[in-house]
């Protein structure tokens, strides 16, 4: 190679490298000129993801948790009153109403299973509500082991013997017969009078309600500003020593919980009982009432609607006293020029709520109708609406917000 050719080669390499470095600097260069947030280029739209997360945590979840503690206390008082009044099967109206109120609120909190409720493999949540691991037989075994003349303690009992699901059975089951198959029948049950069986159930309900209050109190303490202050944990995401290495991780932890709507609400609460998805009955295409979440109070539609309402709050933001809405995912999407997706998400949430509301009567009633009847068709429509909503969430929403599916972000990628 001649000197001239060598020089040209070096020159072209140097120019090339300079051009490359210049391009590398484009992003920083232009951005660097607008370092102040008062710069017009940077100021044209603002959206604070942390503020959204903290608003939902502090103004939606925390008050619901505090409210549930009160509901649990009211439920415990009503159960205690029922027991003291003689534990008659037809004297449970007040306790049933209290259970409905607590159940309704808890169904909203089911969608917010993050933070304290999710710690230790959801131990605190399972103590309050163990579904889908439920067993009416186990609850009757707990009742059988509870001496009505003494104070029973449910603290050490397995989750399938206590919690809101156990109270549903104890407060709404009409028969005094136990729910166990032959070999698992509670000892001495057959020898007890009907009144004694109800007294044992009431005593166990009392113990379970006391434990529920303790669990609700522990959850409330974990959220309270003067307790565990979980909102503060979220607030410091990304800081040194924080539970979350970044704000994104904290948001991802929060959005992971929203997938309750996919697995539990869509598939387990609607799809399986309707026979759309595989279920415990094993009869494809036919309804399976055994797969219903609420099989004693028959409050399934209310539960599904409560799940959806909680999800809608995350999407749209909480209603403000002064009108308008607090920060939510839809506003976040609009702030990053994804308004079409925000509109889609909001309309799909509304459509899902409308579809569930449109189910005539209770879910079990609708499912027991004719295959081509309005009830079954309405349940199918509700399922389809949930599928549409979850599709948007699992695909475009996650992509757009740069978030991950639950349990999908721990390993390396490339």
């Amino acid at each position: 190679m001649s000197n001239a050719a060598r020089w040209r080669s070096r020159w072209s390499r140097s120019v090339g490298l300079a051009a490359f470095l210049a391009v590398m600097g484009v992003g920083c260069g232009r951005s660097g000129s607008g370092g102040s947030s008062s710069d017009g280029w940077l100021e044209d739209a603002r959206y604070d993801r942390k503020a959204m997360l903290l608003d939902l945590a502090a103004e939606v979840v925390r008050p619901e948790v505090a409210g549930f503690r009160q509901d649990a206390a009211a439920l415990a008082a009503a159960v205690s009153a029922w027991r003291k009044a003689g534990a008659a099967a037809d004297g449970r109206d007040a306790a049933q109403s209290a259970w409905q109120a607590a159940w309704q609120r808890w169904q909203r909190l089911e969608v917010f299973q993050f933070g304290p409720a999710a710690m230790d493999s959801h131990a605190m949540r399972d103590r309050i509500y163990g579904w889908p691991v439920v067993s009416a037989c186990a609850v009757d075994q707990g009742a059988a082991a509870c001496d009505p003349s003494a104070a029973c303690d449910a603290a050490a009992a397995l989750p399938n013997r206590k919690g809101l699901d156990a109270l549903e059975f104890l407060l709404f089951r009409d028969s005094a017969e136990h729910e166990c198959p032959g070999p698992a029948a509670p000892k001495d049950w057959a020898g007890w009078s009907e009144a004694e069986r109800w007294q044992r159930r009431a005593a166990w309900a009392d113990a379970v309600a006391v434990d529920l209050v303790a669990a609700a109190d522990a959850l409330d303490q974990a959220w309270r500003a003067d307790g565990g202050d979980y909102v503060s944990v979220l607030e410091h995401a990304g800081e040194s020593g924080s539970a979350f290495p970044s704000l994104r991780e904290a948001i991802n932890h929060f959005t992971d919980a929203l997938f309750y709507l996919d697995t539990e609400t869509k598939t387990m609460k609607v799809g399986q009982p309707a026979g759309i998805a595989g279920n415990a009955c094993g009869i494809f295409g036919e309804p399976c009432l055994l797969a219903l979440e609420s099989r004693w109070a028959w409050a399934n539609k209310a539960a599904i609607l409560a799940n959806l309402e909680a999800f809608a709050t995350v999407v749209k933001g909480r209603p403000l006293a002064a009108g308008g809405r607090g920060p939510g995912v839809a506003a976040w999407l609009r702030a990053i020029d994804a308004a079409a997706l925000a509109d889609t998400l909001e309309s799909q949430v509304d459509a899902a709520i409308a579809a569930v509301t449109a189910i005539p009567g209770e879910l079990d009633e609708a499912l027991q109708g004719a295959a081509d009847g309005a009830g079954r068709k309405a349940v199918q429509a509700a399922y389809d609406a949930l599928v549409e909503l979850m599709r948007t969430m699992k695909t475009q929403l996650l992509t757009t917000l740069g978030l991950d599916l639950p349990d999908a972000a721990a390993a390396d990628a490339d």
């Binding site: 070096r10 232009r30 699992k394 757009t400 991950d404 999908a408 990628a413």
Partner: protein, 444 residues
């Protein structure tokens, strides 16, 4: 044919093996840490023991993991091999062990496929095949450099598309999720930053090998490389990839460069055995040429398939399409029984979150799971069921669209290397344009 003869002669010239020994040191340490992570992060249990279903590679078929604690012990053994490679103790044997061990572990579940794991297998295989003593034929260095050049070049080729260059996707999406970054985070909020960084990334991949190859530009290029890979390491969870490529860049330095570090380094290098001969047989050159041809042709196979490789994923693996797409899918299966009844099956019955994420956007994995669904229903006595996928995918922020023909019974089709007619056409509209989100915490 003078130039090939001179090329062969130059390839056979013995050069100082110091840079190769130093590269092995870095590679060995990185792999030691990587394999230790498998044990300390609990990945062996999560990846190998917990899954109900594992995906397999075409032609290889299902590969079973070792029974517990076998996989833990394997990764510990590979970590020890990494240390041994680093200190040049029986380096070729250690490299062979690392290549085979990594290939085996990766073959257990296709959803764990990573480009950099494939690169580790190739580099370790080369390391096992090439001389590893005090002086080495120049061709050994050339081959390793060529391997690194293949990675960068095809990574650049993969970026030469409208999503990357015009829309700044998927960087736009990824950067938006990281606006809480100190200092730079505020700029990540803007699509323009993503587009600029996309171009920079493509140009970096396309040209870095040339800058590193030229003596005059080598040092500044290496500084840029450190900045680039340092940024990617901080921004994305891509494991050892940035460190691996940084160590690989040292292969382009003068073969004796580590001796300039002096002291202990020189004494260590001088202890490495010097071979009596460094002849390069002709068959070795032929083999190297064949190897390189395969390395070039393997990524190029993606162009034989119709449509967008990022959508259909045909020819995606082993072609260095590193971090070029953000895909999320939603898949369920409609199983139709012989009597006409049908039921919906959701992937979570068989997969964990990570597996589901990977499966939901890759047609061949959807087909594999459909086959499993069919097999399980047959085993349950439901007869010859038909399985249809309801698969929707969002690519780079676009609205979700159907990926699999919902009328194709996936239980009845077979997987070949031919293009799959049941993959529906990908999107033709532009990727999402996102931006203008403000800095996290800024409004509080």
């Amino acid at each position: 044919m003078r130039w090939p003869a001179s090329l062969v002669r130059r390839a056979a010239e013995p050069v100082d093996g110091a840079s190769l020994a130093t590269w092995r040191f870095g590679l060995g340490l990185i792999l030691a840490v990587a394999h230790l992570r498998f044990v300390t992060e609990g990945w062996t249990e999560r990846f190998y023991e917990t899954p109900v279903h594992r995906f397999y590679y075409w032609l290889i078929g299902p590969v079973a993991p070792l029974p517990a604690p076998g996989m833990d012990l394997l990764h510990l053994l590979l970590a020890a091999a990494g240390v041994a490679l680093a200190v040049s103790w029986r380096p070729r044997w250690m490299a062979a062990l690392l290549a085979l061990g990594t290939a085996y572990a990766d073959a257990i579940d296709l959803t764990r496929y990573l480009n950099h794991h494939w690169l580790v297998v190739l580099l370790c295989a080369l390391c096992a095949a090439l001389p590893a003593d005090g002086r080495v034929p120049r061709g050994a260095l050339w081959l390793l450099r060529a391997q690194v050049a293949v990675v960068y070049t095809f990574a650049a080729v993969a970026k030469m598309g409208p999503d990357w260059l015009l829309d700044g996707q998927p960087l736009n999406t990824w950067l938006l999720a990281r606006t809480d970054w100190p200092l730079l985070g505020r700029f990540f909020a803007y699509r323009e930053a993503a587009v600029a960084m996309s171009w920079a990334g493509m140009l970096f991949d396309l040209t870095i090998v040339w800058w590193l190859s030229a003596r005059r530009t080598r040092l500044p290029a290496f500084a840029v490389l450190l900045l680039f890979h340092g940024m990617t390491a901080l921004l994305f969870r891509i494991g050892i990839f940035p460190w691996l490529m940084t160590v690989n860049a040292t292969l382009f330095f003068d073969p004796s460069w580590p001796r300039r570090l002096g002291g202990h380094v020189v004494r260590w290098l001088d202890r490495l055995p010097v071979p009596t001969a460094t002849r390069l047989p002709r068959w070795a050159i032929g083999l190297a040429a064949l190897y390189l041809a395969i390395q070039v042709l393997l990524p190029l196979r993606a162009f034989l398939y119709p449509g967008n490789v990022l959508w259909a994923e045909e020819g995606m693996r082993f072609s260095w399409r590193v971090m070029v797409r953000e895909k999320h899918g939603d898949v369920s299966f409609r199983v139709r029984l012989p009597d006409g009844r049908s039921v919906v099956e959701v992937p979570r019955r068989w997969l964990d979150g990570e597996q589901e994420r990977e499966m939901a956007s890759q047609p061949d994995l959807i087909w594999q799971l459909a086959q499993r669904v069919a097999a399980d229903h047959r085993a349950a006595g439901h007869g010859e069921v038909a399985v249809f996928a309801d698969a929707w995918v969002s690519l780079n922020g676009r609205p979700p669209r159907r990926m699999i023909d919902p009328e194709t019974d996936l239980a009845q089709v077979s997987d070949t290397c031919a293009s799959k007619p049941w993959i529906l056409p990908g999107p033709t509209d532009r990727a999402a344009h996102l931006g203008r989100v403000a800095m996290a915490g800024g409004a509080r």
